[in-house]
Symmetry: C2
Subunit: 478 residues, 2 copies
């Protein structure tokens, strides 16, 4: 193959790989000469050949552009990316999450609230302010433990609830997820036992798997939360290192532990010298009169790492969370410096700017009201459409409902059928290593209720009716 | 204790913890009533008591403010944060890095180039543009694998070097550090053997420790790079899973592997079916005529995960890097969704905006020229001041020099003494698990050379003279 043919072939490969898309301007002859080290002549030949094949088009006074794709020709599938993956819980969760990104899918599976509920305009204003004030040195000032003003602002919100948390024990992280992962890593070694709820946030199961930890799943009631007797039993029977759980607006169930139960939980864990990793990302989304306290408020022995973020209540895209880590703050910073180094400096500064406007609490009040209204609407719609056999578990915070199909119907099957109709739900098996929750699914109620949502619920109901009929056809008559 | 006394005590604790700083406005009586649930009377009593103790001051028509600290009273040290840490290599690295953040320290230890060399104004303009165009849904569009336009822009830079990398195999990460960590995790299990250079970027050693991997450190020459015979031996003798190394402008030594050596390296690893994790964050900082290729350019078997970032050559604070992960792209995304979820959306959008201005290459040319000039200046200064016994190893890229004290002088001791004079250096033991590099240190040459830098080098030299004298005093006369 001649040099110019090789170059032409290379450009064709790049077009097929998607490096250059139809309509993209290709490097000029001059640029191509510089980057390829080939002669002007060779590059010219290659471009002429591509032009004659209809792969690229020359536009006078402008340059060479990738031609529109010939009808019938499909872009090469990115085969090298997708092969060789065993199907496991992570792949399953990944697929459900990826499907939720498709804008044509009605995202009842989403873990995030409708991003249109966030104060985009004010946040963009803060971003614009940062673009005027950021200096070359801000990057150094915002390294772990993170921006000092942001840590102060967070400490003050704790103080509003009567909690004394020093800014020095707060570490800013890439969302609560990094805070939780670093916390777990700070207090465990591979092979250690860790207690989680059943069902629990799937991120906990994934973190345990990633860090080669052993999970003890403790029975957790839809309304009452974790079974303290079962927890005590587990703490007696196993050398447990940590307990990861959610105390407010638990994901996926939605309950908030009572103050009494939080106190008992902390006492029990302290007695067994077990660290509590408290995932508290939904605490701002309460429906009651006042913000519930985290379990950490009862902790007098510095046994709790309290993790939270702004992602569910203010802005998801900034990826800013934190951990109030007590004596583990230094270790957490070390682990962060080793893995992601730091969160981005402009994002921290933009949050400092936004929080200084004092609009946050007014936003939160509005957000809570809207989420409560939308949850009510979604609930009504589900009641209208769902077969009577479907049980809807309500909860008094956040934007999830927990739905229960009549056994032995499988919410995983419902999920698969629903996706074919461009509707996503989050089936129970995402939240557990056991089969306990196979007939359950989590339903995101944060979306503005319209025709599309109503039809999607009707479609979900139709699929469930179909599953019921199919199932009953194989049952002996009662 | 009465209710109002308890509240007063709590506010005193918060002041001592640093939640409220001298001059800060405290919550108003009304706000305090709402957040504490106490009566107006109780809160009023508490504030009066604090005022009478001189802890807070009332300003008419404005509210209550934290009083200036009484002379002689020190803020309480954050005792709960700093205790209980064994001294190990990570703690050591952490301390050196933390010391470098202090603006009073001359940061010759820094791993980053002088941030004043980055195009702050243009980047801020891009940030301002994003603040006008970001939508509520951008967060979803920028989830892993990351913004599609950014992945295209990166694929095109590969194409400029003649490499065919599909945007579909690129995953955007929180800097190269997350890319490297996720790559290592994707291809190893705890207990596996991994090859690193000796000396190597300390992040590699930390990642291995964090993931419970076993390190094989292969001898690496200051100018020629990794010893391929030693590498072949290691590959024969151990069941190696991965090899993490730097091919261009290696940290800390500065060498760039020759094209031949890169080809041989890839052939050797492919033959043993060992994944190459290529850390290539300095490739834009070459001094030669053209940008060196990564080893991945010779890889025909999809055995290389190529990791890089914008942090060393465009902007450190955004925390945006990537990995060209080939067949591992999906697994990397899964691991990212589990640990940090995603990089921040406005940061990705700001980079897309900046790269679309086509200013990047002009900036890089300017940056390379400045870094080369400054390295030359620093080198001259070192030659002027350092004892003849100190060897300065030059390299043809980047912004590091690698200095060698006469044995048995310990650069760790030099580092400790230098820090007392507010000068930081990066001693050799940060880069190795062995004692090989005890007399060496890395010196960052990216700073504008002025009186402060000149004096710091003179001071460093004076300390070394002192160490030599002290050492020689205990030696038998020759």
């Amino acid at each position: 193959m001649k040099k110019y043919q090789r170059l032409a072939q290379q450009i064709i490969s790049q077009i097929e790989l998607g490096v250059w898309q139809p309509g993209d301007k290709l490097p000029s002859l001059r640029e191509q000469v510089v980057s390829s080290g080939m002669s002007f002549m060779t590059v010219g030949h290659a471009y002429q050949m591509l032009e004659s094949q209809g792969r690229i088009v020359a536009r006078p006074q402008s340059g060479y552009y990738v031609a529109a794709r010939p009808t019938g020709q499909q872009p090469m599938p990115p085969a090298q990316v997708m092969r060789d993956e065993a199907v496991d819980i992570n792949t399953y969760i990944f697929d459900v999450l990826q499907a939720s990104r498709d804008p044509s899918v009605v995202p009842f599976a989403s873990a995030f609230p409708d991003p249109r509920l966030f104060p985009l305009q004010q946040l963009n204003r803060s971003l614009a302010n940062v673009s005027k004030t950021a200096t070359a040195m801000s990057v150094i000032e915002n390294l772990p433990p993170g921006n000092v003003d942001l840590r102060h602002a967070i400490a003050r919100r704790y103080a509003q609830q009567g909690m004394n948390i020093s800014p020095d024990e707060i570490v800013i992280t890439a969302g609560a997820l990094e805070a939780l992962n670093l916390s777990l890593q700070a207090v465990t070694e591979p092979g250690d036992w860790v207690i989680v709820e059943n069902p629990c946030f799937y991120g906990a199961l994934q973190a345990l798997e990633r860090l080669k930890l052993k999970a003890l799943s403790v029975a957790t009631d839809v309304h009452e939360g974790i079974d303290l007797n079962a927890l005590a039993q587990a703490l007696n029977d196993y050398p447990v290192k940590a307990c990861w759980l959610m105390t407010n607006g638990q994901n996926p169930l939605g309950f908030t532990l009572s103050a009494d139960k939080k106190a008992q939980l902390v006492a029990l864990l302290t007695q067994h010298n077990v660290t509590l990793i408290e995932d508290d990302v939904y605490s701002e989304l309460y429906y009651g009169r006042e913000k519930p306290l985290p379990a950490k408020a009862w902790d007098r022995a510095d046994m709790t790492l309290h993790c939270s973020s702004f992602s569910k209540c203010l802005v998801a895209g900034f990826r800013i969370g934190w951990v109030a880590a007590g004596k583990h703050a230094r270790r957490i910073q070390q682990l962060q410096l080793m893995s992601t180094l730091s969160t981005s400096s402009p994002m921290q500064l933009a949050l400092v700017d936004y929080l200084a406007t004092k609009r946050y609490d007014a936003h939160l009040r509005r957000l809570r009201r809207t989420l409560a209204e939308r949850k009510q609407q979604a609930w009504q719609a589900l009641l209208r459409h769902m077969p009577a056999e479907v049980k809807i578990h309500h909860s008094d915070s956040g934007y999830f409902l927990w739905l229960e199909l009549p056994a032995p119907l499988d919410a995983g099957e419902l999920s698969a059928q629903a996706l074919a109709h461009h509707i996503s739900i989050a089936p129970g098996k995402m939240f557990s290593t056991s089969d306990t929750w196979t007939p359950f699914f989590r339903f995101n109620t944060s979306w503005a209720w319209g025709e599309r949502e109503e039809q999607a619920v009707a479609q979900l109901a139709a699929i469930i009716y179909g599953m019921l009929t199919h199932h009953n056809a194989y049952l002996p008559a009662p």
